[in-house]
């Protein structure tokens, strides 16, 4: 079953001189897959990721996520759509520093407002437990270490049980111990919860943990390697 389908995605940076950063990319990702996109810096892999995440709407082509054509939809629709279907993990965790860890995890769910607050809270605590940082739940984000914050960011990405989890160098800023822990978590998400994970990385070892590796160069996908069916 397809969760994400991209058709002929073309993106041009107009500044300083027009530059075609994505040259007609088409790809399909199935539900429950763990996909990594690799490539040299400047090959367009991060740009592609932001297009797939619906944050970047300035492209040509058609993008369908969870059976919804998201291309051409307005910003407020896309924001709500992201809240419901997409979870984000960034290189620099990007937690709201003044909020507690628990609030950081809760906010997307409270905003979505699909479930009563106490149920959301229980699930948030469960996720934090699973990430091993439940004891830090009530501390402000800024007091935690980088590894702890990244785990909180993963919990936040999962709080709305999104069909698609997108990571931009999710391990890029972590030491090897934390990298291993985060990768374990990501692969278990796919395995246990049937959620789809798409990450961009330049680290071959990280990519090796995924089901499928897409290699990009000069705005095109030049190869893919399927490691597990």
């Amino acid at each position: 079953m397809t969760i994400l389908d991209a058709r002929d995605i073309v993106k041009i940076f107009p500044e300083p001189v027009p530059f075609q950063v994505l040259r007609g990319i088409s790809l399909t990702i199935a539900r429950g897959e763990f996909v990594s996109i690799v490539g040299k810096s400047g090959c367009g892999k991060s740009t592609l990721l932001y297009v797939l995440s619906t944050l970047d709407t300035d492209y040509r082509g058609t993008l369908t996520i969870a059976d919804t054509v998201v291309t051409g939809k307005d910003q407020d629709f896309l924001a709500h759509f992201r809240g419901e279907h997409i979870g984000f993990i960034f290189q620099f965790h990007f937690l709201l520093q003044e909020f507690t860890i628990l609030d950081n995890v809760l906010l997307p769910a409270l905003k979505l407002g699909k479930e009563p607050p106490d149920r959301v809270r229980d699930r948030a605590m469960g996720l934090l437990e699973r990430m091993g940082i439940a004891d830090c739940a009530h501390r402000p984000a800024k007091q935690l270490s980088g590894g702890q914050q990244q785990r909180a960011a993963i919990a936040r990405a999962l709080i709305n049980q999104p069909a698609l989890v997108i990571g931009d160098e999710p391990t890029g800023n972590l030491d090897s111990e934390n990298t291993a822990a985060v990768l374990d978590l990501l692969s278990s998400i796919c395995r246990d919860m049937g959620q789809t994970v798409v990450i961009v990385t330049h680290d071959r070892e990280v990519a090796a943990r995924s089901d499928r590796i897409l290699t990009m160069a000069d705005g095109r996908i030049i190869g893919q390697e399927r490691r597990r069916p």
Partner: protein, 421 residues
């Protein structure tokens, strides 16, 4: 679920404002300053206006009925011969016409019986006289009134600075002299004072009381005595009444009722608003001034809020981008920034109401005595809930206006450029 969205907004607003406490307090203080100043100014100004209006109305009635002596523009000859004839009358003069209101006793009776809108009625007889002191003569007027009725309407006894109302009633030919006149003529209670009428009649009056209204035209020229004394002085009977002063239950109704009485009784009628038009204009101008100063202060306060919000947004670009990635749309971001602005407005505004109230209270405790303004001991301040309601609306309004542009700016932040670093 709109409800739950606002809980989330409130939590974000509170956390962001708490995290920069000092800036938050400073920008709210701007609003506090503007609002408190507005409340204190407007309360004080209205207090002054009301005080002056009370003084004004302490001597002038709401409606005054009188008989206007005018020259008819159409002569009797013209009326007789009609428009087709050319009639020339050389040097027309006003006929010997009485200044008295025709059928005054009947009018008084009708007003008392049938008009519920009237609080009180006081008939008067005025006479132009000269107060004689040695060889000097000071022109002025002598007013014959029903002193008991007049005291009820205008609280005469509270304005008496020497002598008493009772003394005027009990003394033979006793008069109550205007304060300014007493100074000018250098007389005291108990002194004898000769007065002369234009007809040449002279009479020796006794100063029984001195009264001060705080209105120079009256205090410097007018004296009071009983109706009967003036009627006798003029050689007229008891039906001779020149003015009827009317106090209404609702003084704003005066213009309408004045027109009605004029029609009903066939005499002239004047309402207090027409009589005091220039003073009322000065009230309006004072009010405009108060509002101009307060609104400019609120504009300054609004700029304070605008500044802090713009700064906050620049500082929080990353947070805004994260929120957008997490499912917050442009509408949500706008609401959050606007909410921050309104929170500052409410906090600053409520503090402003409290400070403004305390300032008004302080002003009302400042002693202020002036011999020309009897009855004033402290600066006058009017306490009215209306001003506080208007003030909080102002606070919210200026905060909302100040928040609009930062809110739109925040909503337009492009998350991709910030998150990619």
């Amino acid at each position: 679920m709109v409800h739950s969205a606002w809980i989330v907004y409130a939590r974000i607003i509170a956390t962001h404002l708490r995290s920069r406490r000092r800036q938050t307090i400073l920008s709210a203080l701007g609003i506090t300053f503007g609002i408190s100043f507005y409340v204190a100014m407007v309360s004080f100004m209205s207090g002054v206006n009301e005080f002056l209006e009370d003084i004004m109305l302490s001597a002038t009635p709401h409606v005054r009925l009188y008989n206007d002596v005018t020259l008819d523009s159409v002569t009797i000859a013209q009326r007789w011969f009609g428009r087709s004839a050319m009639v020339v009358v050389y040097h027309p003069k006003v006929a010997e016409r009485s200044r008295a209101i025709r059928n005054a006793p009947e009018i008084l009776a009708t007003l008392k019986r049938q008009h519920q809108e009237i609080l009180g009625i006081s008939p008067r007889v005025t006479a132009q006289i000269y107060y004689t002191q040695g060889t000097t003569e000071v022109p002025g007027s002598l007013v014959g009134v029903d002193l008991v009725e007049e005291n009820k309407l205008f609280a005469l006894s509270s304005k008496i600075t020497a002598g008493s109302l009772r003394a005027v009633l009990t003394t033979d030919d006793g008069i109550m002299l205007g304060g300014g006149l007493a100074d000018k003529l250098n007389v005291r209670v108990g002194d004898r004072l000769p007065v002369t009428l234009p007809s040449g009649t002279r009479r020796l009056m006794t100063v029984a009381a001195i009264v001060r209204f705080g209105i120079a035209q009256i205090d410097n020229a007018q004296s009071y005595t009983t109706l009967k004394t003036v009627q006798r002085l003029l050689g007229k009977d008891q039906r001779y009444i020149t003015d009827i002063y009317i106090k209404l239950r609702d003084r704003d109704d005066a213009p309408r009722l004045a027109a009605l009485y004029a029609r009903l009784f066939g005499c002239s009628a004047e309402d207090w608003q027409t009589f005091n038009a220039t003073i009322l204009v000065s009230f309006t101008i004072r009010n405009i001034l108060t509002y101009a100063v307060s609104i400019s202060m609120l504009i300054v306060a609004g700029f304070g809020i605008y500044n802090i919000l713009t700064m906050m947004i620049l500082e929080k670009l990353k947070d805004i981008a994260i929120l957008k990635a997490m499912g917050f749309g442009q509408r949500d971001i706008r609401a959050i920034v606007l909410g921050q602005s309104l929170a500052l407005g409410i906090a600053g505004g409520v503090a402003g109401l409290v400070v403004g109230f305390l300032m008004s209270l302080g002003i009302s405790r400042v002693p202020f005595r002036n011999e020309f303004l009897p009855g004033m001991e402290y600066l006058p301040v009017k306490f009215s809930l209306l001003y506080y309601a208007v003030a909080i609306v102002f606070a919210l309004g200026s905060a909302a206006v100040a928040g609009i542009f930062p809110a739109r700016r925040a909503a337009r932040v492009d998350p991709v450029s910030i998150l990619r670093g």
